[in-house]
Symmetry: C2
Subunit: 326 residues, 2 copies
């Protein structure tokens, strides 16, 4: 009744922002992402009467309030599938800070789902794993796979799940994550998703996604970094346009965010193959080639406001491990 899994965060090329049904994390549009190898979360979960009551520790600290309730809500889904009402203990460790727009909830809920299903002895098909992970965090539906993944929006719980577009080895690319802030963002993604429809930019963003999805699939199929980068940048700017003009407003950017974005644009003028993208937070992903990743990472470190970089290759699917966090 105890298992540990590690799952990678993912960087969305076509973003998920806004729900058709928030209680089920049914998204308003399909999305495409790359699972990352160096940004990951290990989760150990144990279901046992000895636990007493549900205990949730995220990154070494007891979870409280909404963060705790959200994990317990997901444990309830897993318990229902396993036909048990045993209390659970959960602990996590990540290679990157949570709540900073680096898809912590994607890797956390993907790992929790995979570990939880294993702990309960449930063998289910990948589609079901993705569907269940989605209930914890929408983008976790994508992190249950490695490589390039598309989450098909769907209109019901059963129909909304991710699938692999190309495996991790398909395309050697690098995502140099520029961490400009470790601080939790002011507006959580769950609030941002709910606010999306209030933005005057929301409908325009949605209308652009079909085209962007097709472009992203083509870019992945052809290993076309310029096309992938174009979509990733436009999608990032659209997401933040919606976020900063919604109610409540989410102005996620910090000075360092803009410094990195402007630097990437300046590099492109000089011929560097580098493209920025951001999920809902201040930190910036710089997509580049294997060859250019070292100089991109080194140069990013020199930018004022930079805390550190994390150089990620495409990551694999979640793995179960024998070393538990407790």
């Amino acid at each position: 009744m105890k298992a540990t899994a590690q799952a990678g965060a993912n960087i969305a090329i076509v973003k998920y922002w806004g729900n058709l049904d928030a209680s089920l994390n049914l998204p308003l549009n399909s999305s495409i992402s790359l699972t990352l190898d160096q940004a990951n979360t290990i989760v150990t979960v144990e279901f046992s009467p000895n636990v007493g009551e549900d205990r949730v520790e995220i990154e070494g600290r007891p979870a409280a309030g909404y963060a705790r309730e959200r994990v317990i809500g997901h444990l309830n889904h897993l318990r229902q599938m396993g036909g048990t009402d045993a209390p659970a203990r959960v602990a996590s460790r990540s290679t990157f800070p949570p709540a900073t727009g680096l898809a912590f909830s994607a890797s956390f809920y993907a790992a929790l789902t995979v570990a939880g299903l294993a702990a309960l002895g449930l063998a289910v098909d990948p589609r079901t794993v993705s569907t269940v992970a989605r209930l914890g965090s929408g983008s976790a539906a994508r992190s249950v796979y490695g490589g390039w993944v598309e989450w098909v929006a769907g209109a019901s719980h059963e129909e909304s799940y991710a699938q692999v577009l190309a495996p991790r080895d398909w395309w050697a690319i690098r995502d140099v994550i520029a961490i400009v802030s470790d601080e939790p963002k002011a507006v959580p993604s769950t609030v941002g998703h709910a606010a999306a429809v209030s933005s005057p930019c929301h409908q325009g963003r949605l209308a652009r996604t079909t085209e962007h999805l097709a472009m992203a699939r083509t870019a992945i199929r052809n290993r076309d970094l310029a096309l992938l980068g174009q979509v990733a940048e436009e999608q990032a700017l659209l997401l933040h346009a919606v976020a900063m003009t919604g109610t409540p407003r989410a102005l996620y950017w910090l000075p360092g965010t803009v410094a990195v974005m402007q630097q990437v644009l300046a590099w492109r003028e000089e011929g560097w193959p580098a493209y920025f993208t951001l999920d809902a937070g201040p930190n910036v992903h710089v997509l580049t080639t294997v060859e250019d990743a070292p100089r991109v990472a080194a140069s990013l470190c020199a930018i004022p406001g930079m805390q550190r970089t994390l150089v990620c290759a495409p990551g694999g699917p979640p793995v179960l491990g024998d070393v538990h966090l407790f």
Copy 2:
């Protein structure tokens, strides 16, 4: 045949972004602004056969290329009104840098229009002055008045002009301009206006303007800084959402831009009555009270990336002067 005029720049509360007819600067939406007293431009113009050919000096440097052609185009409008084909000499001096999103073209073309009409001995009504100034730069239609001004979009040259909502003495307010860059912006406003319709956010922004115009009028009528500030911030974010998602993209923000915006939001949490707004450029206007302006200005100067501040009160209408620039 020689005259000098000084006109103030203006800060738009409801922004002008995108044209119905670019050749006439007919805007897609009405806009509202405040003319500023400390951000102004002096223009001397002389029509004389002795000039030889048109000579244009902007901020001490001979104008070239599009900047020169644009001024000559406006001189042609004035010459047509005055029934002359005499060549002209033009010179300007401003208290702030051009092409940085501080409405240089508004104050320049308002001053050029007023000086030009005087040099040609033409006495025309204020509506015509506004209409003609608009041909030089859309927002110059507003800078031919002092105080709070609304530019009614109109659907033809004759119907698109500005009028006064409230005089400069109506409301003692301060606009502390945070200058984070003196460098000319990468994408000129004329290009940005043309790109607006290509943005997925454009229609949403337009749909919001009727409501924002009504809110701005109410705020001015009731001297309600919180309401004015809300509109000014939302309009700024909408303009930049459109600019950064259009083709070509205009990402006007610099690290200092975001530093000031985030600082203003933090001040509000502490109870300071301060609101940001930006036109098309990296520099930030902070709207605040007379009482709070000194501490706002002093604190802004401590922000990394800040070059200097310019504290503006509401400005008056353009004035003719006897001291010429040449």
